[in-house]
């Protein structure tokens, strides 16, 4: 069955002023100017107790500025930062009790691992016994007991990061902020550390905000993801929501590969490339309105024979390129200029490698899992029928109102 979906409503719950909420951290209406350039516009989001939220965006999207504003290292132009029901907007960084894990970890180079971890307690003039006890517990938690006497420069990147986390956990932070936590590490270590940190956070149950430009990292780390683009939140939701039902074209293309085609709303169907595909149409789209459909490469169905009835059939097409990328196969398929009738295959305007349109017709990217690629071999020039397993309808203008 073709599973058809519509755009998710991504309204954010407005915080009720003054009354108690379950949020660990709230960022309300924050904007920021650097000189005359606006880098953040009216950013609002909330982090629940124990939740991990990922701010995902390209470099220059303003995500680091949001983090610095929460930490108190930067002042917002408008808006409020509320941590556990306390407005901390006017407080300096040192009075906020926020734990920041810097991209470079910012471990104190002249202090040993245990001195680094105990720093927050020592400057708070806690009794020596208490400092020692807490440091021991944290060393155990991050599994660095045998490295306690070492200096940061003697540790690996992953170990340094664990020291940085332990150093903030020592003073029981209101929220943990991770600035591009895995940027400085190689791909293998990254994946390993991600899972380690996720497990650690669940154990200590401290809410966390991550900043990253890596979509894979965002999907794996976040309970929820907020996609930031030029100082705005484009969408906020669970990884599945954001990936499967992107609210905007930007979200669709930033989180993984996406194919985008023009389409027209026709009552309970959607017209794409002259094919009519049944769809549940959201009320906000008018009949005859021009829209876009977005679908993931893995949601495309390729077949050498006409698709069975009931499948959302998009068009016929021709395989232009295939490449094997490890776990799956990636293909580029040119769609017939006038699709339609792909259930039966009787399309007088179909493409072949000889037709001039094979250079200009709309291309889409398709991925197939390895078993399927082995079972049904496809190569350049093969005629295929293209169906959709899932897609999302987006308004023509990319920004949601």
């Amino acid at each position: 069955m073709a599973q058809v979906v519509s755009v998710m409503d991504n309204k954010v719950n407005p915080i009720s002023n003054g009354s108690a909420t379950a949020y660990a951290a709230s960022i309300v209406g924050v904007s920021k100017l650097f000189g005359k350039t606006s880098v953040l516009q009216n950013i609002t989001f909330h982090v629940a107790e124990g939740e991990a939220l990922v701010l995902l965006g390209a470099s220059g999207s303003g995500k680091t500025t949001i983090l610095r504003i929460i930490a108190g290292l930067e002042q917002p132009y408008t808006g409020k930062i509320i941590l556990h029901n306390k407005d901390v907007t006017e407080l300096p960084a040192r009075e906020r009790g926020v734990g920041v894990i810097f991209q470079s970890y910012a471990l104190f180079p002249k202090m040993t691992v245990e001195k680094n971890i105990g720093y927050g307690l020592r400057i708070r003039h806690r009794p020596r016994k208490e400092v020692k006890k807490t440091v021991n517990e944290l060393l155990q938690l991050v599994q660095l007991e045998e490295h306690r006497k070492k200096y940061p420069s003697q540790l690996s990147g992953g170990q340094q990061q664990r020291v940085a986390i332990a150093r903030t956990l020592a003073y029981k932070p209101e929220v943990l902020l991770f600035d591009e936590p895995f940027g400085a590490l190689d791909a293998q270590t990254r994946g390993h550390l991600r899972r380690e940190i996720r497990a650690l956070l669940k154990k200590v149950n401290v809410p966390a905000i991550f900043i990253t430009h890596d979509q894979e990292e965002a999907l794996e780390l976040g309970d929820r993801i907020a996609v930031i683009n030029v100082g705005n939140i484009e969408q906020i939701g669970t990884p599945a929501e954001v990936y499967n039902h992107p609210a905007t074209e930007y979200v669709a293309t930033f989180l993984g590969a996406a194919n985008i085609l023009d389409a027209i709303v026709r009552k309970d169907r959607i017209e794409v490339n002259s094919a009519l595909i049944p769809a549940r149409i959201d009320e906000k789209f008018k009949d005859g309105e021009t829209v876009k459909i977005v679908f993931r490469p893995e949601d495309v169905l390729l077949s050498k024979t006409p698709l069975p009835a009931g499948r959302a059939c998009l068009s016929g097409g021709i395989v232009e390129q295939t490449s094997f990328v490890g776990a799956y196969e990636r293909l580029r398929v040119r769609l017939d200029p006038a699709g339609g009738a792909c259930e039966t295959g009787d399309n007088p305007y179909y493409l072949t490698t000889e037709t001039p349109e094979s250079q200009t017709a709309k291309p889409i990217i398709v991925t197939r899992p390895k078993p399927e690629a082995v079972e049904v071999k496809l190569q350049r020039g093969d005629r295929v029928f293209v169906g959709l397993n899932a897609f999302t309808i987006l308004p023509k203008t990319s920004r949601p109102k």
């Binding site: 009075e95 920041v100 810097f102 002249k110």
Partner: protein, 271 residues
């Protein structure tokens, strides 16, 4: 390359040439002090060194240089902090001004201090009726030392400040430290190497200061005569051994300081 494995004549030749060129310029003059200073036996060298005026001159040099060093290191730290942390109009002008005193001839520095603090100087004239005499005292020597070594510690500390990652201080702040705690526990330890080398440079330079000191101190034996002034005075009086004894001490002292600077730098800057 003509000699792939064989003997390369350029190597011993160039090294030999370097040493030969340094002979009359550096090695022989230094050697001469030792030869002259000890040719009448170690006993007479020791006696010359232990002469009350000589001991006083060495002590005075050490004490005045010490206070000048303390002041200039503290000032250098403060100036480096302000000038690398804050951007403001006129910052570069201030940096140039701080660096200026090393470029000024030391005699000019002496004259300048006299014009300010001397009996007829701009400030000295006002202080004199109150019985405050700044020039021709140990204080004057400290002032002269401060002036001529002013930018040395600053010059070593500032680059370290400039390259220091801000995120260390930001991390300390988010952890809950006050500015002072951050400076004491985080910033200062990273500056340890720069502070020590800045201090040694300043001290070594101050101990050897002559041009400005001779103008502002009055060169009174046993009262305001520093070690370099003592050497000059004794030499003029024809007491070569007395001059040489102190000269040897000063030469060894500089050698020691620069050896420490050279070999301890890496150790001090280890992260």
């Amino acid at each position: 390359m003509r000699h792939v494995r064989g003997f390369d004549v350029a190597r011993p030749l160039s090294i030999g040439m370097l040493v030969f060129m340094m002979m009359p310029l550096v090695f022989l003059p230094l050697l001469s002090i030792f030869i002259f200073g000890t040719n009448k036996g170690l006993a007479s060298f020791w006696a010359a060194l232990m002469a009350p005026e000589a001991v006083f001159a060495l002590k005075l040099s050490m004490v005045t240089s010490f206070w000048a060093t303390v002041f200039n290191v503290l000032f250098g730290l403060f100036a480096a902090y302000v000038l690398s942390r804050h951007a403001f109009w006129g910052r570069n002008a201030l940096i140039v001004t701080i660096s200026l005193p090393t470029a000024i001839p030391t005699a000019v520095a002496g004259v300048a201090l006299l014009m300010l603090w001397g009996p007829f100087g701009i400030l000295g004239r006002l202080l004199r009726p109150h019985g405050i005499e700044v020039m021709f005292t140990a204080g004057a020597i400290v002032l002269a030392n401060i002036f001529v070594t002013f930018p040395l510690a600053f010059g070593v500390i500032k680059p370290v400040f400039d390259t220091m990652s801000r995120s260390l201080e930001e991390a300390s702040a988010t952890i809950g430290a006050t500015r002072w705690q951050t400076f004491w526990h985080v910033t200062l330890p990273s500056l340890r190497g720069a502070i020590v080398s800045g201090a040694l440079l300043t001290f070594a330079r101050a101990v050897g200061e002559f041009g400005s000191t001779i103008m502002v101190s009055g060169n009174l034996a046993g009262r305001t005569q520093t070690a370099p002034l003592y050497i000059f005075a004794k030499f003029n009086e024809g007491q070569i051994e007395a001059a040489n004894a102190i000269a040897i001490v000063l030469a060894l002292f500089s050698f020691l300081v620069f050896s420490v600077l050279f070999f301890a730098r890496d150790w001090l800057d280890v992260d």
